[in-house]
C-alpha cells in the first residue's frame, strides 16, 4: 500500500508523461497510459489520488491572457501586518482577477511582504482593482509593478534528471 501523498516511481513516470501537451483526442488518458506502459484505469486512479493530495493542482487549460482580452497585468506588492495576513489574503483571493496570492520575505530596503498578480483589460483596470482591494482590506501601503514584457513563460519539467 502506497503512503498517502508520497510520490513513488510510477507517479514520477506519470508526471513526466503529463508535463507535455495533453492530447486533444477522444481518449487522451488511454493514449498517455499506453505511452507510460500502464493501463488506463491505473492512470485515472493515480490522477484522482494526486488531485486529492494536492500534488496535482489542476488538470485543464491556461489561456494566453493577452489574446483573450486581458492585456494588462501588474504585480501588486503590499505591506500587511502578519497578524492580518490570512484575513487580507482571503479578501483579495476572492477576486477572480487576482490570480496569485503569496506571502514573501522582505529585505532591508524592500518592506513588501504580500504579493498579488492583478489582471485587467487595461492598466487603468488594474489600478482601479488595486484601489478597491486597498479599500476592502485597509492596506494603504502598496505598489503596482506593471508588466512591460514577457521574456519567458513555460511550465516546469519535473524529474528530468533521473
Amino acid at each position: 500500500m502506497k503512503v498517502q501523498g508520497a510520490i513513488d516511481d510510477m507517479d514520477k513516470r506519470i508526471i513526466r508523461a503529463l508535463q507535455g501537451d495533453f492530447p486533444i483526442v477522444s481518449q487522451p488518458y488511454k493514449q498517455i497510459a499506453e505511452e507510460i506502459g500502464i493501463d488506463e484505469e491505473t492512470l485515472l486512479r493515480r490522477l484522482n489520488s494526486m488531485k486529492e493530495t494536492g500534488v496535482l493542482r489542476k488538470m485543464g487549460a491556461v489561456l494566453r491572457h493577452f489574446d483573450v482580452g486581458y492585456r494588462a497585468n501588474a504585480l501588486g506588492v503590499w505591506i500587511v501586518a502578519p497578524e492580518h495576513m490570512d484575513e487580507v489574503a482571503e479578501k483579495m483571493c476572492a477576486h477572480p482577477e487576482v490570480t496569485h496570492c503569496y506571502d514573501r520575505n522582505t529585505t532591508p530596503d524592500w518592506p513588501y511582504n504580500f504579493y498579488t498578480m492583478l489582471h485587467g483589460r487595461t492598466e487603468k483596470d488594474c489600478i482601479e482593482l488595486a484601489r478597491q482591494l486597498s479599500e476592502e482590506t485597509g492596506i494603504k501601503n502598496y505598489q503596482l509593478q506593471f508588466t512591460e514584457k514577457e521574456w519567458k513563460k513555460t511550465s516546469m519539467k519535473y524529474f528530468m534528471e533521473e
Binding site: M59, V62, H100, F146, M156
Partner: protein, 151 residues
C-alpha cells in the same frame, strides 16, 4: 480569428478542469450540447490560433520536493535585454518578466537542490549590468488560480 460565444463557453469550461474519465472531451461536449467531434476540432483550432497556452497538468512543486522562489533583479537599463536572455537560458527558470519599477526583471526559479539554486543565482548576479538581486521566497501560497472568465 475572433472568439465566438461557443468558444468562450468552451474555454471557460476547459479552464475549470478536465475530468478524469475515459472520454473527458465528450463530457464537455455533452455539457455544451454538441458532439464530441465539434469540441475536438474547435480546441485544435483554438490551440493553433494561440488562444490556449497549455492544456495539461499543473503540479504543486512543493509537494514534489521542489522549491520555488521569486527573484527581482535591478539592472542597468542598457543591459536589461542581455541579462533577460541569460536568465531565459535556465530550464529551472520558468517565468521571466520585465516590469516597470526599480527592479526591471522578475523571474521564478524552481529547483530541488540548494547547490544548483545558489549556482544559478550566483551566475546571474555576476552578469554585466546587474546591480542587485532580491530572493523573495514564500512561506504561504494563498492562491494560484489562473482563470479568465470570458464573457
Amino acid at each position: 480569428m475572433e472568439l465566438t460565444a461557443f468558444d468562450k463557453d468552451l474555454l471557460n469550461l476547459l479552464q475549470g478542469g478536465i475530468q478524469f474519465t475515459a472520454k473527458p472531451y465528450e463530457a464537455m461536449a455533452s455539457q455544451l450540447g454538441v458532439a464530441e467531434e465539434v469540441v475536438l476540432t474547435r480546441l485544435r483550432e483554438l490551440k493553433a490560433a494561440g488562444y490556449i497556452r497549455k492544456i495539461g497538468a499543473f503540479f504543486n512543486s512543493d509537494q514534489l520536493g521542489y522549491s520555488g522562489t521569486l527573484v527581482a533583479v535591478r539592472v542597468v537599463p542598457e543591459y536589461l535585454a542581455e541579462v533577460a536572455e541569460k536568465i531565459n537560458e535556465y530550464p529551472e527558470i520558468t517565468h521571466n518578466y520585465q516590469r516597470r519599477g526599480d527592479y526591471g526583471l522578475w523571474f521564478t526559479l524552481i529547483t530541488n537542490n540548494t547547490d544548483r539554486r545558489k549556482k544559478i543565482l550566483g551566475e546571474i548576479q555576476s552578469q554585466r549590468g546587474v546591480l542587485s538581486m532580491m530572493d523573495l521566497y514564500s512561506q504561504k501560497k494563498y492562491k494560484i488560480d489562473v482563470r479568465f472568465n470570458l464573457k
